[in-house]
Symmetry: C2
Subunit: 340 residues, 2 copies
C-alpha cells in the first residue's frame, strides 16, 4: 500500500508503522517528550515522595471472547502487566467503554464480570469508568480502554540505561499462545486448535524477581503486540547495543508453532498476554530463571539471549540451531490486526 | 423501543437509561462499589498522605471538529474538568486512540495538536498513551479515551453529605452552547448558527472558589451529557433533598435557545463542556458569584436555585417566570447521541 496520507490497519499492529506514527505524528503533534518508545509506554510520576506508575491501553480484540479470555479480562490484565513490568504494584484502575448499539446486554455483563474477576485476582480496584454508545455498523461491539496507577517498588531500578554488555535476556515461557488462540476463533480462517490464550497477571513474577534480585534486574517488558521481535528491537534501539538470541533456547508450544506455520506467521512477532521478558545481570541469570520457574505460569522460563556491545547500528540477531544467523527485524505491523 | 436485551444509543446519553445500565449491569458485573453515580464519577485515592483524584472518559463526538473545539481538545478538557470539580489540581493525563483505517493523517495531527495545546494551557502533562487501529466502516474515524490524575486541594470538602437545606446552587453561565454548536455541524440537520462550543478548563473557577470559600463549597459538578437536568437529578438523589430552581435566573444564550427551540431540544438537558455547577453555603453564595464572575468565562454566573429539605421522594422543581412549577426529570438519554 502506498497511501501515506491515511491510517492503515498496520499502523495499529505495534510494529514499524506504529512506531513511525507515534514518533512522527502523534508525539510531535501533542508537543510531548520525544523519548524512545514515546507514549506507548507507561510513565513514572513522582508525587510527595512516592513514585507512581501510570499507563493506559485501548482494547479492540476480535472476537470479544476467545479461549482463555475475553476483552474484559484482557483489558484488566494488559494494564496490570504494563504496571508490573515498570516494577510497580498495581493499585487502582479505570475502565471506559465504547459500546456499539445492538450489543447483547448479557454479553456485556459476562465480559465485565470477567474484568471484575481479573481485577480482584490481581488485587487491583476498578474505581472509575465511563460508558458511551455509538451507532450500529459493520464492526464489532466493544472498545474497552483501561488506565492504571501503581506504586513503584523501592527495589526497582529499571531502564535501558541500566542494561549493559553481558546481561542475560530471560523469557518466561513459550510464544504466541494469545495471538493464535484469538486467530483460531476468527471466521474464515478455517483452523481449530486446543490453544488457550496465556492472558494472566505478571505481577507475581515481577514482584518475585525484584524481591530476590533488586537492582540486578535491569529491564522488564511484556511482549504483547509485535511480540518478542518488537521488544528486542526496542531493547537494541533503546540501549544502542547489539542483542543476540538463541533460537533453540526459546520455549516452544507445539500447538502454537503448528498454527503459526499453517497461517504463515512468525511466532517471534506474535502477541502474548502472560509472558515476561527480563534483562538481568549475568551473575543473577540462572537463579532468576529458577525463581521464575517456581511459578506455574513460568515453568518453562529460560535464558534466551545476551546483550552485546554498543553499536552505531545496533542489531538483533537470531542464532539458529544449525549455526546460522539471521537479523530479526521489527515487525511491520500488518500480520495480526485486532489481536488485543 | 422495547428491546431490553440489547444496547441502545440512549444507553450512552448520560440520562436515565445510562444510569440503569451502570447501576443495573456494569457495576454489579464488575463486583464494584454500588455507590450512587457509580463508575461514572471520578474516585479519590489516598496514597502516602496525598489524596489523588482519578477519572476517565471516552470521547466519540461526531463530527470530529466543530466550532470552538474538536475531539482532541474535548478529550483533554473533559478530563481536566472532571478533576477540577473533585477539587483537584490536574497533574498528568493519559490519551488512548482507537483510529479507523482510512482516517486522514493530517486530520489526526490537527486533532492531537489541539489536544496538546489544551493540555499545556491547562497545565497538565500527557504522559502515557496507546494507539490501536480498527477496520474501515460506516462510522466516524476516532475514539479518544483520556484518564487523569490530580491532587485534591487541602481546602476541598466536597460531597453529597456536605450539602444541606438552604444551600445555594450556582451556575457559571448559559446552557447548551456545546451541544448546539456540535449539532449545527451535523449533516442533514439544516441549520446554521454562530454558536461556539464552550469547551474550556474549569480549573481556574474551581481553584478560585476553593481558595476563597474552602469548606463553604459543598459540591461541584460540570453539566456535560444530560446537562443541568442530570446534575440536579443526581444532587436530589445523592442528598435525598428536594431541589428548587428558578427558570428566570438561569443565564441564557439567545442563539442556543433559538437553536434548541428549532430542534425541539430542552436546554436543561443539553451538554456543556465549560460550565460549572457549585452548591455553596447560603452565607457565601453572593460572594461566590462575584468571585466566579471575575473570570471572563463565568461573567454570567448566577444563583439559580436552592437545596430544600430531606424527602423520601426528592424532587427537582423548576419555578417558571409566571409562577408555575414543573418537575424536572432526569433525561432519558436519546436526544443527542455522540455529543461528547
Amino acid at each position: 500500500m502506498t497511501d501515506k496520507e491515511h491510517i492503515q490497519l498496520a499502523h495499529g499492529g505495534g510494529g514499524e508503522l506504529t512506531a513511525e506514527l507515534v514518533e512522527g505524528v502523534i508525539l510531535p503533534a501533542l508537543g510531548g517528550p520525544q523519548r524512545p518508545g514515546g507514549l506507548t509506554d507507561g510513565a513514572i510520576v513522582p508525587v510527595g515522595g512516592v513514585k507512581f506508575a501510570f499507563t493506559t491501553d485501548g482494547y479492540v480484540v476480535r472476537p470479544l471472547e476467545f479461549p482463555g479470555g475475553d476483552i474484559g479480562k484482557l483489558a484488566v490484565i494488559g494494564t496490570v502487566n504494563d504496571l508490573a513490568v515498570m516494577g510497580a504494584r498495581p493499585l487502582v484502575m479505570s475502565l471506559s467503554l465504547v459500546i456499539r448499539e445492538g450489543l447483547e446486554i448479557a454479553l456485556l455483563g459476562r465480559l465485565l464480570k470477567s474484568a471484575g474477576r481479573a481485577a480482584r485476582e490481581a488485587g487491583v480496584s476498578i474505581v472509575t469508568g465511563d460508558t458511551k454508545v455509538v451507532e450500529r455498523d459493520a464492526s464489532d461491539g466493544l472498545v474497552v480502554t483501561t488506565a492504571g496507577i501503581g506504586v513503584v517498588s523501592d527495589k526497582a531500578a529499571l531502564g535501558f540505561h541500566r542494561v549493559t554488555a553481558g546481561d542475560r535476556i530471560i523469557l518466561s515461557g513459550p510464544l504466541g499462545e494469545h495471538a493464535l488462540a484469538v486467530m483460531s476463533q476468527r471466521r474464515g480462517l478455517g483452523f481449530s486448535s486446543d490453544l488457550v490464550s496465556d492472558c494472566a497477571s505478571l505481577a507475581p513474577l515481577t514482584a518475585s524477581l525484584l524481591e530476590s534480585f533488586g537492582e540486578d534486574v535491569h529491564f522488564m517488558r511484556d511482549p504483547t503486540r509485535g511480540g518478542l521481535a518488537a521488544v528486542l528491537a526496542d531493547l537494541a534501539e533503546g540501549t544502542g547495543r547489539n542483542v543476540e538470541v538463541l533460537e533453540a533456547a526459546i520455549p516452544v508450544n507445539r500447538a502454537a508453532r503448528a498454527a503459526a506455520e499453517m497461517l504463515g506467521l512468525d511466532l517471534l512477532a506474535a502477541a502474548n498476554e502472560g509472558k515476561l521478558i527480563a534483562v538481568v545481570a549475568a551473575s543473577a541469570a540462572e537463579r532468576a530463571v529458577e525463581t521464575l520457574a517456581r511459578h506455574d505460569m513460568a515453568a518453562h522460563a529460560s535464558v534466551i539471549g545476551t546483550v552485546g556491545e554498543s553499536s552505531d547500528n545496533p542489531l538483533v540477531e537470531l542464532l539458529t540451531p544449525i549455526g546460522g544467523r539471521r537479523i530479526v527485524q521489527r515487525p511491520y505491523g500488518e500480520e495480526l490486526p485486532r489481536i488485543c
